[in-house]
């Protein structure tokens, strides 16, 4: 017995003694007498460093240091705001007579040295990253089982994850970091500088996940901590737990109870492990009842816990950092909400059936523009210390209406570093994250009147006008503007069913013991983020379905059977990540045309070697619109204590056509080799 194992056992046994005072140690099992004669404590765990070696020169474009406009000089031309009026120009001494009607391309503003910047080129003031590694994790887990009686046990799994690696991290904006007081809006722990790898924080609550304790570089939590009671056909689980439903793997069709935790390695872990450590646990009561041999009822009520996205500037962040996100999980009262559902599962020989009905808050949430709340005037100088006449003009014009800062606070914008610096950047990112750059600007203007009007913003009619307005305001903002969005959650009903069938064919043939599984869910009036980020979310009836074929086939007498899985998924409203298909197929210069449906094909296999000491894995996800993810891997388990896994993730988001037309567009930075070395005790 190792020293660590002994220490851990002492801790566990001490806890047991403290709990009941009746346990005794006896090898790996404890026993006693009386009420707790069946009592037993079991314990196990592992520690595993994980590294992901970056194999491309691309960086995550959603982070400050991965932004391509850190290396691209973008031209900007300011225009006279169409609603500024001739009088104001006149007050400034301009002899220009305004033609009517005006728009955001009507009157370009000239450059006046030391006075007015009307036209320039801008390059984001952030040094590009050059990461050798995407990931340096140290993970440790312990699982404790305390069997009180034959019917009652406590199951606990404690997971600790630390990221102590060195990256080309974002560390603030250097000389520009104090421009206009630096970033003012949002949670300073998330937007104040260096990335915060682990803390999940929402507006009004720094600790929204129960049984989780985290700092910027570590996280400790209980993925499971529940009491399990079983008597006859009844099973009850009470406590923090994750729930997985459905037969399909990786494609989540019936697997709706829990959101995902996309911190750490996002969805880019070994694909064949599915979401083993990704489902967000929640305090829940789960009841199971085996009605007959073949029919099982499985229901739950659980506290609503949202999907957790990676924090700004962490390697696998999925929200552009030019946005400041205000998560309303706490302020909106969602912390007190419950989700509940029932699944009926029936097996009759070769046939299997399941049906679900779930009422839940969609854990992914939806986003829209929100007032920044940042009461800060536009800066008097630009990042180059040049006088900012445009910004000063806006400030002065708002003196009588409470100040520009107050009015800006009522818009979704904040004049602080790290935002969008040019219209080019705006449209590039809008297309990349499946948003509509032109109408998104209009939504930001229209949904926040009169504040937007007071700062001279107005709707545009087309892309060119949007470019004019955006560049004008970025110049007026002293260089850039940050956008503010909020995340909200909506209740929905998921109705789903699945059928599986195991074929009988000629023994040994490809059609023998082929497992065919079809699953589908229907969600009426599901709420999606509008591609404009407008206040009116999309409400659409949503179908998600999948066909899964699984097969074990022996090709050789010397090697165990190869496991194959071929899956096809069809979605009618959103993509695999929950983004509305209406935001698809935008470009740097054109608004999205949208897609009518999304289709994905997954093919994977596993080939164990004799004795299963080595195992080759291969997975690929193909989007017919031009994206592919390929992930070969090798698992090696030389002894019971040690395991070594290596896998390479290759993503090509431009096999054909527009990368923003396929699921993987924007993920090309994640080509990487991941190595994990585990020691279990």
């Amino acid at each position: 017995m190792g020293k660590g194992q002994m220490c851990a056992r002492i801790v566990v046994l001490s806890l047991s003694f403290a709990c009941c005072g009746m346990a005794r140690a006896d090898g790996d099992s404890g026993g006693g007498s009386g009420w707790f004669s069946d009592m037993d404590v079991s314990f196990g765990g592992f520690i595993r460093p994980e590294v992901a070696l970056h194999t491309t020169d691309k960086e995550n474009p959603l982070n400050e240091r991965g932004n391509p406009y850190n290396s691209i000089a973008a031209p900007r031309q300011a225009y006279l705001p169409p609603n500024s009026g001739t009088a104001l120009l006149s007050a400034l001494g301009s002899p220009i007579k305004l033609p009517l009607p005006l728009n955001w391309n009507s009157i370009p503003l000239p450059n006046v040295p030391l006075l007015l910047t009307g036209r320039d080129t801008v390059q984001r003031p952030v040094p590009p990253a050059n990461n050798a590694f995407n990931l340096h994790l140290l993970r440790a887990e312990v699982e404790i089982g305390v069997k009180f009686t034959n019917d009652l046990k406590l199951v606990g799994r404690l997971r600790a994850v630390g990221d102590f690696g060195h990256y080309s991290d974002f560390e603030g904006y250097g000389p520009d970091s104090r421009i206009n007081g630096g970033i003012s809006g949002g949670d300073p722990a998330l937007y104040g500088g260096a990335p915060n790898y682990f803390q999940y924080r929402v507006e009004g609550d720094k600790h929204p996940n129960p049984l989780e304790w985290a700092g910027p570089n570590y996280m400790v939590y209980f993925p499971s901590l529940f009491l399990d009671y079983n008597h006859g056909p009844l099973n009850v689980r009470l406590g923090n737990q994750a729930i997985a439903w459905g037969q399909a793997i990786f494609f989540r069709v019936l697997d709706v109870p829990d959101g995902l935790d996309l911190r750490r390695h996002s969805v880019l872990d070994y694909a064949q492990e599915e979401y083993s450590d990704k489902r967000v646990p929640a305090p829940a009561l789960r009841l199971g009842y085996q009605i007959t041999d073949g029919i099982l009822a499985d229901g739950y009520v659980q506290k609503f816990q949202p999907t957790v996205y990676g924090n700004p500037n962490t390697q696998y962040n999925v929200v552009p950092v030019q946005f400041t996100v205000h998560d309303r999980y706490s302020e909106g009262g969602y912390e007190d909400k419950l989700g509940y559902g029932l699944r009926m599962k029936a097996n009759f020989g070769q046939w299997g059936f399941q049906a679900i009905a779930v009422r839940r808050y969609n854990p992914d949430g939806v986003f829209r523009w929100t007032a920044s709340g940042v009461d800060k005037n536009l800066p008097a100088t630009t990042s180059g210390s040049t006088p900012n006449l445009l910004g000063t003009f806006v400030n002065l014009a708002n003196v009588l209406s409470g100040g520009a800062g107050k009015n800006l606070a009522g818009t979704p914008f904040e004049a602080s570093p790290g935002g969008v610096y040019s219209a080019d950047e705006w449209f590039h990112y809008a297309a990349m994250v499946r948003l509509d750059g032109t109408n998104g600007l209009n939504a930001a203007v229209n949904d926040f009147m009169p504040y937007t009007t007071k700062v001279f913003a107005s709707p545009v009619a087309n892309y060119q006008q949007a470019v004019g307005e955006l560049n004008t305001f970025f110049i007026a903002g002293g260089g850039d503007l940050r956008g503010h969005i909020e995340r909200e959650y909506f209740q929905e009903t998921n109705l789903g069913s699945g059928v599986s069938y195991v074929t009988d064919g000629e023994p040994g043939s490809i059609l023998d013991q082929l497992i065919i599984n079809v699953e589908a869910t229907y969600t009426p009036a599901r709420v999606f983020t509008a591609p404009t980020l407008g206040k009116n979310f999309l409400h659409q009836n949503d179908w998600v379905s999948a066909l899964v074929l699984e097969k074990y086939q022996r090709f050789s007498q010397d090697f165990p059977a190869t496991y194959f899985v071929l899956q096809y998924m069809h979605r009618t409203r959103d993509d695999l990540f929950g983004r509305s298909l209406r935001g698809y197929s935008g470009t740097d210069t054109a608004i999205p045309t949208g897609e009518t449906n999304a289709n994905y094909v997954v093919f994977a296999f596993q080939q164990p070697f004799p004795q299963d000491i080595y195992r080759i894995g291969f997975s690929t996800l193909y989007d017919p619109h031009g994206g592919i993810l390929v992930q070969p891997g090798l698992q090696f388990k030389p002894t019971g204590h040690w395991s070594i896994d290596g896998f390479y993730t290759y993503i090509n988001d431009h096999l054909s056509g527009n990368p923003n037309s396929n699921l993987l567009g924007g993920l090309g930075f994640a080509n990487e080799f991941t190595l994990r070395v585990g020691y279990q005790f």
């Binding site: 069946d38 196990g44 765990g45 089982g145 069997k147 085996q290 040994g508 023998d512 019971g640």
Partner: protein, 458 residues
Amino acid sequence: MRIRKYDVDYSRRLFLERTAQGAFATGVLAPLWPLIASGDMSKAYPDELTSVEMYTKGKVKTGDVLTASNVDAVKDLLDPITFQQIKTMGRRITVVETVKDPTLLYPMAFLETSLKNKGKAKLGADGNIVDQAGDSWLGGIPFAEPKTGEEAIANLTLSWGRHDYCQYAIRQWDISPGGDPAYQYDFVWAELQANARLDGTSFQNKKDLLRIQSVWFTSPQDVAGSSFLSTWYYDQHKYPDLYGYLPAFKRVRQFPTNQRFEPLLPGITWFLSDAWAAGDPMLTWGNYKIVGRQPMLGAVSQNWHGSRKNWEIGVHGGPKGQTFLDANFSMCPECIVLEAEPVGYPRAPVGKKRVWIDVRNQQFVAYITYDRRGEIWKSFEVGWSRYQDGSTLVKDPKGNSEWSWTYVLSHDIQANRMSRAAHTESCAGGYKSQLADNGVDVYNKYLTNQAITRLGQA
């Protein structure tokens, strides 16, 4: 002095004649089963078949330890892999007294039921085992004196553990070719007879089932919670339904049922197909042939170490002294040698299996498999015993000492990897071995889809 009419050659000739004629009688000096019923088998065989000393002409005596130096004298009494283990790998086996009391070879209830139902079984038109009325088998050994290979395998298949419910807490070590214990697993194997039960009932009136069986791993952490539920149909042409819970998937999923020749976990040498030398529905195999009868040395008694902590067994031999479990073998005067081929599994890596079945209890004492090239591949050796070790014993509900298996040595001689499993008192997770349900609703607790979800823990 015994007349030398019944020397080894006489027995050998008699066994050859019986094999050639397809005769099914057991016993050499007298029919075996009446003696089993009387409780003393000593008059069934000549001393040459019950005494290793007489068989080897004094080269090996009861109480001796078989080693490389003397194993040649008993080469004909061992399967070829066991012989190689002793001859070349440092294995040692103690020869103990030959069993004459039949009750030492059975659970009492199973023996009583076998005697009660003797002669009532037949093979139905579809090859399944039925009673004279054509209903499911009544319990106990169906064919006390098997005439065919099908009848011989039926004796192994219909009731694996010879109890209506068995739950084995198992600790297994998998030994690398270098002799190191590379992997160690704790798991529980549970079997519930649905029919062919000793209590004469069909469990919950499930007349279409033979048994419900599950296995769940409890240690180490990376496999803890992996569990499989296999529902066997009474119709032995049908593959069992198989459901599995894998911790990574966090849910029960359906698995194909014909993958019975695959390593369950890294390092494990045995397949599901190897269990009890009859791990598959018997009619999914074919070409059953009784190819011989012979005496054997087998681990049929005195192999339980209940006085030791967790019933664990000492180890020895191999490169690091860790490869083999200590075992006691004794003379088995008459064994059927059965061969069969996996005709229902055309892609199976196994070409055929050979099983030596002790006619005294119709249980196997040796079992080896051959690969598709005809080369010897693996052995699956099981130790059996009454559960009595000095004053320590495990009792059945009537107060008799229990009987079950005590260890398994599964040796892949081609890869030179050994899996050694011990039937222990308890294993990680707090599960204890038991040979009855002890009043617990074991069906709902261990043998349903919901159960394996729960056993999957976190």
